[in-house]
Symmetry: C2
């Protein structure tokens, strides 16, 4: 496995791989790699001949009161994970490698960012879209893999790639969960033992919603209310940042549940902000949205 | 000369040209081609093996009170101009070819847009950067040529390409002028005969400023005041939208003139908004900013 921090070298290498007829598959990450990231790497290996993973804790997607400073950065463990996972190139740019001191150009989106995490994390998706545009332009991949755990992010990146006509296909890998249902996240390590127990409430609320849908319930307001009640049995009402039912295409609120509805929630457990989601009728939506099995 | 409106076909063709080892040179235009555009095409031929010209009157860069509707669209004459000029591919996308009905992603810049045309045309540069990002991603050129007449636009596009790590070199061709100094512009055809005479005042004011600089005057405020006086001899004070001295690197105001200072002005002659500029010590700045001779 090669390890490079120079964007110029990565771009040259990737371009050369494409010239040799190899399909380049890319997994951008913020490091602190866990089994969820490994599943993205596995998907990249299935969809490409040459797998690039980037590790970059992107400052522009953190708000001033957020956890940029304490975000975990176990670089040597991450390097070993990538090596063992069969990654071909690990790209570890510094802040200066990605952003010039007078960087002033951003990619913004005005529609799919209106709900879910958008209003709660002003500037977050501007930072995400900008860094992903930069990383895609450096790595020049045929495909890039993102996790469904960050569903709004993944859908926004698909929209960016479509609207700006970037030549990369965006695939979305399913969320990897602990046995008790908790979605894997680098931020789970912030949780105390007691909080770790309560954190299950997100996936429990989503399973409850899926049961309602399977039983024929189509009323989004009612189902979201039941999810909320489930959460508020475990955390204070003020800790439930949002519970929303939106269509996956445009992330606009829906009143009637249907295949393609994204049910998503954000709950703060202690000081840790956790998100999770499901897409109803996911298998039927797979082809249209590059949702991997 | 091929003429295509499909972005997919243009992208495939261009990628193939690059695979064959040809250097792709691109000239994005809004049509109504004149000798200024022909100079861009000539420059493209010098810097590339395969020349693509696009004609697209981009709706997102016009304000609601601006001239999108009446902007000239002499497509057949433009086609002949391109053919005679030795263009290899003329790309004429429709609005729908460029923007999906639910297009929602934009490229924005927060610093170089603060002065000059920025405050006077809200949303204009967002539209310009977005469409140029789209066109560059479609045409995938090695180099793209822009005219110095729109100096702020050209500099912004250089900044976008740098910040988003797009793989195209942006070259800036010198402004082409009528014998009496008027910078060529598709909008000159809006001028009545009488307005056409008064329109010379922009280039006259710039020549005056260059004389001051050549004579050793370094006081930007004083030189801009002299330019203003020259303009106000011909048009009402309210018709002078701006006269500014900025550094070409960051387009920030300067108080002392130096090599690399951009002197730029915008004057409305009748109802027609005209812009023009010079870069002081231009030959010394050529290598750093891709300024063509």
């Amino acid at each position: 496995m090669q390890v490079l921090s120079s964007p110029t070298e990565v771009a040259a290498l990737s371009l050369n791989m494409r010239r040799l007829g190899k399909r380049v598959a890319f997994v951008p990450t913020m490091g602190a790699l866990h089994a969820g990231h490994l599943a993205l790497i596995e998907a990249a290996k299935r969809h490409g001949d040459w797998v690039v993973v980037s590790i970059f804790v992107n400052p522009t997607q953190f708000g001033p009161a957020e956890d940029f400073g304490r975000y975990p950065r176990p670089l040597e463990a991450d390097r070993q994970t990538c090596e063992a996972g069969g990654v071909d190139l690990l790209f570890t740019p510094s802040r200066e490698d990605v952003y010039a001191p007078d960087h002033s150009v951003y990619v913004v989106e005005g529609n799919l960012t209106r709900g879910l995490c958008g209003p709660h994390r002003p500037g977050h998706f501007r930072g995400v879209l900008t860094v992903v545009a930069i990383l895609l332009n450096i790595a020049l991949p045929d495909v890039a893999i993102f996790g469904q755990k960050d569903a709004q992010q993944a859908r926004l990146i698909q929209r960016m790639v479509r609207d700006l006509r970037m030549a990369t296909r965006i695939l979305i890998a399913p969320t990897v969960r602990e046995q008790d249902g908790l979605a894997l996240s680098s931020r789970n390590q912030y949780l105390t033992e007691e909080e770790r127990c309560r954190a299950c409430v997100l996936s429990e609320a989503l399973r409850l919603a899926e049961s309602c849908y399977a039983a024929g319930d189509r009323d989004a307001v009612q189902v979201c209310a039941r999810m909320r009640a489930r959460c508020e049995a475990v955390v204070p009402a003020s800790a439930v940042e949002y519970i929303e039912a939106v269509d996956f295409e445009g992330l606009a609120p829906v009143t009637t549940l249907a295949d393609g509805t994204l049910l998503a929630l954000c709950v703060r457990v202690g000081k840790t902000r956790l998100i999770d989601n499901v897409i109803l009728g996911r298998p039927h939506m797979a082809a249209a949205y590059g949702l991997l099995a």
